[in-house]
Subunit: 206 residues, 2 copies
């Protein structure tokens, strides 16, 4: 993925759409100059990104201490097959957010953040499931990161070949790739009378 300036987009709507479609992000932080990059679930709440996980998570503990973070979200849209090895690429949409996070400590705000996370993954789910208990709230750390220093990069469309290469007899174009749901797998302990909800039967990212 060659990063050309014309692939950079900075408008808020593009950034929000990428964050909302993606199911997970990668969180980068450094400890004594060693970077770590950890995959985790995120959700957007307006102009903030919410991260969460086990209270014992090193990533979340360090993230709560105000150190610089980098959160990157990448959606792969397809392969770009050029006539030369050099001009091969991928179509993708990515967002990079730099900033420092703070921990959400207030009880109602924490429950609201957990709701935002569940609804990000499966809209409609929160109303059906058991909400967090006090013990579960204690076991969870939740961070909020401003989506302020953020940029998006997008590549789309066909390959851009060297002019002389268009005469070559090799197939060129795009192979789109999409994250598609397969048939849901019922929990082995699920009561046979419980039907698959519509929001899972027709699951689709925004």
């Amino acid at each position: 993925m060659r990063r050309r300036s014309n692939r950079a987009a900075y408008d808020r709507a593009t950034i929000a759409a990428i964050l909302d479609e993606a199911l997970f992000c990668h969180v980068g932080f450094s400890v004594e100059n060693q970077p770590y990059v950890i995959p985790t679930i995120h959700a957007r709440d307006g102009d903030h990104l919410i991260l969460h996980g086990a209270a014992a998570s090193r990533m979340l503990r360090i993230g709560s201490e105000g150190v610089p973070l980098c959160v990157t979200v990448t959606l792969l849209d397809g392969l770009v097959l050029a006539r030369s090895a050099f001009h091969h690429s991928m179509n993708y949409r990515s967002v990079v957010i730099l900033g420092t996070a703070r921990e959400i400590v207030e009880r109602e705000a924490r429950i609201a953040a957990m709701r935002t996370l569940v609804e990000h993954v499966a809209p409609g789910r929160w109303a059906e499931v058991r909400p967090p208990s006090d013990e579960e709230l204690v076991a969870t750390r939740i961070l909020t990161l401003p989506i302020a220093e953020a940029s998006a990069k997008v590549r789309s469309g066909p390959p851009v070949d060297a002019e002389a290469d268009y005469a070559l007899g090799v197939w060129a174009g795009e192979l789109p790739l999409r994250l598609e749901p397969a048939r849901p797998i019922r929990d082995p302990r699920l009561d046979a009378a419980i039907q698959l909800p519509e929001y899972l039967a027709n699951y689709r990212r925004p």
Copy 2:
């Protein structure tokens, strides 16, 4: 994605399979304690990971200077829908590699690395396309990173609910997600007589 110790796997075969299936990785590096996480294509060459891109890329220039890197690869396998908000999760496979890279400078080794990258994305492609020119080789920086300090994490299977929650009347289970190819899109300038190659018509990750 709560990171429990029983999700950690360290065998080389697991790590290699995740790296080989994934089409891209996220490279983490730090500049004055600010981490950056950049998506890019990778390929595995035995016990090394190959990264490449424009010679002007900051990530590759910094990576070539022997600074600590973290390369993370994540494959999302599905949603894990539990009966409580708290026990929701995702099924995934991820690899984290820590280490320092070095630049590949020798011409034949650089061409071999580019071949490995193209064949990682689309096996069979290298033999059909125009190989890199001298100018293209100069414009490309290629790094190699030992897959030595590496670990994998894998979550699979149904939700693990609190025992009392199994009596709740909410659907629970897995929604598998797969990266699926859609119909290839021909380059608008492609000669109508050129047929789609078999390795794209039946594209599938290993």
